[in-house]
Symmetry: C2
Subunit: 425 residues, 2 copies
C-alpha cells in the first residue's frame, strides 16, 4: 500500500526549527520519501494536501490510558495523596472489560487530538494492548508493578501481557509505580527482569514534595539517589514528572541517560508543582511530554499539554524564551520519542522512519493568520484543527471520523462499565 | 420570535454550584421562562436538546478584538515592553478596513468558542462596532484613549464611535490605555467625560512589575493609588490584569467597586506573572476573565482561558481548591458580567435576562464520562464541544456553522489586509 500526500507544509522536527513545502510518500508502514515534487504512478492513494501542515504525530510519553473511566472523578481532592486514596479502591475493582473499554475510549481521544503513540503505565495491561492491536495504535505498554516483592512476583506470574502484545506496533516495557508504593526489592527485581529481556523500564519520580520529603526521611536519600542504588537506572529508563528533582539528582539521571516526561496539566491540577524543564534541558536531560491519566488532567490532548507547558515555563521562569514554541513541539514529538528510546522509529518525519503523522488544517479563524507556524500550533491550534492522523502508515482519523473505532459504541460501553464500577463502591 | 429549547442540563450560574434538567423559552431577546416541562404552542422553533448542556455564554471581559490580525506576530519578544515596541508601529498604520476585518475574524473565533459578549479596548473602535452590529454580537466597546491630553482631545473629536454604536447590543465605554502610556490629565479628563455621559471606564492596571516599579519611581505611588487620585475610580470602572496589585491597592479597588479582569494566557505567555485571584476574591474584589488580544494569547477561546486559570491558580497557591471548577465558570460568565457592570442583563441564565447562551455537546470521547459537570467543562471540554451559541435570542452558531459571518470570506479578506499591513513596515 502506497499513499502519496502532496503539497504539505512539513515540520519534520529533524534539526533546528524548520518547515518547508513537500510531499510525503508512505510505503506500507514507513516514510519512503519526503521532499518536493514526488511522483509515484503506482500509489494507491494520492491526496492533495494543499494548505495543510504535517508534523510528526504526538508521542504521549506518560499516561494511564484506561483511567479515562475516572475522568473528573473526585477531582476536588486537595492533593495527590488524598486523590490516590479515592482512586485506588476503584482500581482494585476494575475488570479486564473495564480496562478494555477505558482504553478504547482513551484511544479515540488520543487519535482525534493528533497523538500517534503513547507510553502507558497501568494494570490489566493486556487489555490495553488488545485495544491498541484492534485499533492499529502504536504503544509502549508497561508491565506495571506495585507493592513489595511478593506482589511483584504475583503480578508477573499472572500477567497476560506477553500474549496480547505480540504486534509490531507494541513494545513491552516494565514500570514500577513509585518509591512511595513499592519496595527497594521491587525496583531491584524489576530492573533485573527488564535487563534480561532487554526491556526499557520507567517509574514515577519526584512528583510531589511529600514524595521527596518522605523518601529523605525514610531512606536518608533523595528519590533519584535512592533509585540509582537499586540498579533501576542501569537499565534503559525513563521517569515521569520529576517536579522536585534536585541538582544532584538531575546529574544522576544525565549520567544514566534517564529522560524525564513532563506532565504539566497533572502537576498543576494536583498542585504538585512546576517541573523546571529549562533547567533540566540545560543540565543535559532529554525532556518529553505526557498528559498523565485523564483523571488528573482531565483529558488526553497533547495540544493542551503543549500550550500549558509553554505558558508555565514562561511565567515560572519569568522568561518568555525559556522554551520556544519549536522546543515545545519537539518535546511533544522527537524528544518524547528519545525519552522512550524509540527515536530510531518515530518522533520525526524523515525517510525510513515509521509513518506516524499528524496533519493540521489551519484554515479556520482561530489559526488566521499563522504568522509563526510553531506559535500557531502551540498557542492557537485546538483539536478542531486536527485534520487526519496516520499511524504506521494507516489513516486512523480521516475527514472527522475515526476509521478503526466506533466512537459512539465505545462511549456507550464505557459509560455502562463506569456506572457499574462506581456503584459497586 | 419564540424559541423553546427542551430537555437541557442547565448550569444557570445564579447561585452556588448547581445544575438541573430544564427547558428554556426564549422570547425575542430575553429568557421568558426557564424550568422543567415548559410548553409553548406558539413557539416558532422547538428544539430537542436532550444530552446537551446550557450555560450562560462566556463574557470575555478584556480583549483587543482586531489584534487577531497580529496573531503569533513577533511573539518571540522577551517581555511586554519589547513586544509593544514591535506592535505599536503596525497599529499606527492600521486603517478602518483592517480593523473591520480583524474584528470580523475575532468575532468568528469568539462565537465558535462559546463567547456571547466581550469588552474591547482598541483603536478605530467604530469599525469593531460596525462588525458587531452586522454580526449580532453583544459588546462593550471602549472609546480608547492614549497619550497626553492633547492626543486624548484629538481622539475624542475624531471618533466615529457614537454613530456606529447605536444598537441595543452595544455599549460605549471609555478606556485609558495604561499609566505608562497616558498622562494624569488623560485619566482625569476621561473620568470627567465618562461621568458626564454615565459611562463605564476601564484601563490596564499593574500588568507587569516594570509598570509598578516605574510608577512608584515616577509618582511615588503604586499604580492604583495614583489612579485613585485622578478620580478615575470615582466613575464605574473595571481594570485588566492586576498581576502586581499590592494589598493597599486591592483595598482601594474594593472601596470603589473596581473589578479585575484576569487574563491568564497573556500574563503567562508574556511572563508578566500570575495574578493572585484567590487573594483578590478573599479581599472582596470581583474577578472576571478575559483572553486579552489574540496577539498575546494567541487565541480568543474562553475555554482555554478557564482551563489555564484553574491550572495556575492551583499550582501557584499549591492549593487544589484555591479556585474550584464552578468558581472558574462563574468567573467566565456572571463575574465577568459583574465586573463590566452588566450583570443585570447577562452572565446567568434566568428569567428576564438576555438570552445569551452557550450550548455544549458532551457526547464525545474527551468528555466521557463527565462525572463532575463543572470539571468536565473547565478541564475536559474543548472547542469541538460547542454545539450552538445564542446572542440576544438569536442563534449565531448552529450545527457547526456561523449564521451571520461567512468565515471563509472573512479569513480571505483578513489575510489580504494583514499581508498589506505587514509589508508596509
Amino acid at each position: 500500500m502506497k499513499t502519496l500526500l502532496k503539497n504539505l507544509t512539513v515540520i519534520p522536527v529533524t534539526r533546528d526549527s524548520l518547515s518547508f513545502n513537500a510531499d510525503i510518500l508512505i510505503s506500507g508502514s514507513v516514510i519512503e520519501e519526503i521532499g518536493p515534487g514526488l511522483v509515484c504512478p503506482e500509489a494507491d492513494v494520492v491526496r492533495d494536501c494543499t494548505g495543510l501542515i504535517a508534523l510528526p504525530g504526538f508521542v504521549n510519553a506518560h499516561t494511564h490510558l484506561s483511567m479515562t473511566l475516572m475522568r473528573n472523578y473526585k477531582d476536588t481532592c486537595s492533593n495527590l495523596q488524598d486523590w490516590l486514596g479515592e482512586i485506588f479502591p476503584i482500581e482494585d475493582r476494575m475488570t479486564d472489560e473495564d480496562i478494555y473499554y477505558g482504553s478504547l475510549l482513551g484511544l479515540a481521544e488520543l487519535i482525534k487530538s493528533g497523538t500517534t503513540s503513547f507510553a502507558d503505565m497501568y494494570f490489566h495491561q493486556w487489555m490495553t494492548a488488545r485495544a491498541c492491536r484492534e485499533t492499529g495504535m502504536r504503544a509502549f505498554i508497561s508491565q506495571t508493578l506495585f507493592g513489595d516483592l511478593e506482589e511483584t512476583k504475583k503480578r508477573l506470574s499472572e500477567t497476560r501481557l506477553d500474549r496480547e502484545i505480540d504486534n509490531e506496533l507494541l513494545r513491552k516495557d516494565y514500570a514500577v509505580h513509585a518509591v512511595y508504593t513499592c519496595t527497594k526489592e521491587t525496583y531491584e527485581y524489576t530492573a533485573a527482569a527488564a535487563r534480561e529481556r532487554k526491556a526499557v523500564v520507567n517509574t514515577h519520580l519526584s512528583e510531589t514534595k511529600k514524595e521527596m520529603d518522605d523518601c529523605l526521611r525514610q531512606t536518608g536519600m533523595l528519590p533519584a539517589v535512592y533509585l540509582e542504588k537499586t540498579g533501576f537506572f542501569d537499565v534503559p529508563c525513563y521517569a515521569a514528572h520529576g517536579v522536585w528533582l534536585q541538582e544532584e539528582e538531575t546529574e544522576i539521571l544525565r549520567c544514566h541517560d534517564v529522560g524525564i516526561v513532563h506532565n504539566p496539566s497533572s502537576n498543576c491540577k494536583l498542585a504538585s508543582g512546576i517541573a523546571p524543564v529549562s533547567r533540566f534541558k540545560s543540565a543535559g536531560l532529554t525532556v518529553g511530554l505526557g498528559t498523565d491519566g485523564a483523571s488528573s488532567n482531565n483529558n488526553l490532548s497533547m495540544l493542551k499539554e503543549m500550550r500549558l507547558a509553554a505558558m508555565i515555563s514562561a511565567v515560572s521562569t519569568m522568561n518568555v524564551g525559556a522554551l520556544r514554541p519549536y522546543d515545545i513541539i519537539r518535546m511533544a514529538t522527537l524528544d518524547s520519542a528519545k525519552v522512550l528510546k524509540a527515536d530510531h522509529l518515530i518522533g520525526s518525519l524523515e525517510k525510513g522512519k515509521k509513518a506516524d503523522i499528524a496533519i493540521i488544517n489551519p484554515d479556520s479563524a482561530n489559526m488566521t493568520p499563522m504568522n509563526d507556524i510553531f506559535s500557531a500550533i502551540v498557542f492557537s491550534a485546538d483539536e478542531r484543527n486536527i485534520d487526519s492522523v496516520y499511524v504506521n502508515g494507516k489513516c486512523l482519523f480521516c475527514e472527522g471520523k475515526l476509521t478503526t473505532i466506533d466512537e459512539d459504541a465505545v462511549i456507550h460501553e464505557a459509560l455502562k462499565r463506569w456506572d457499574i464500577l462506581r456503584k459497586e463502591g
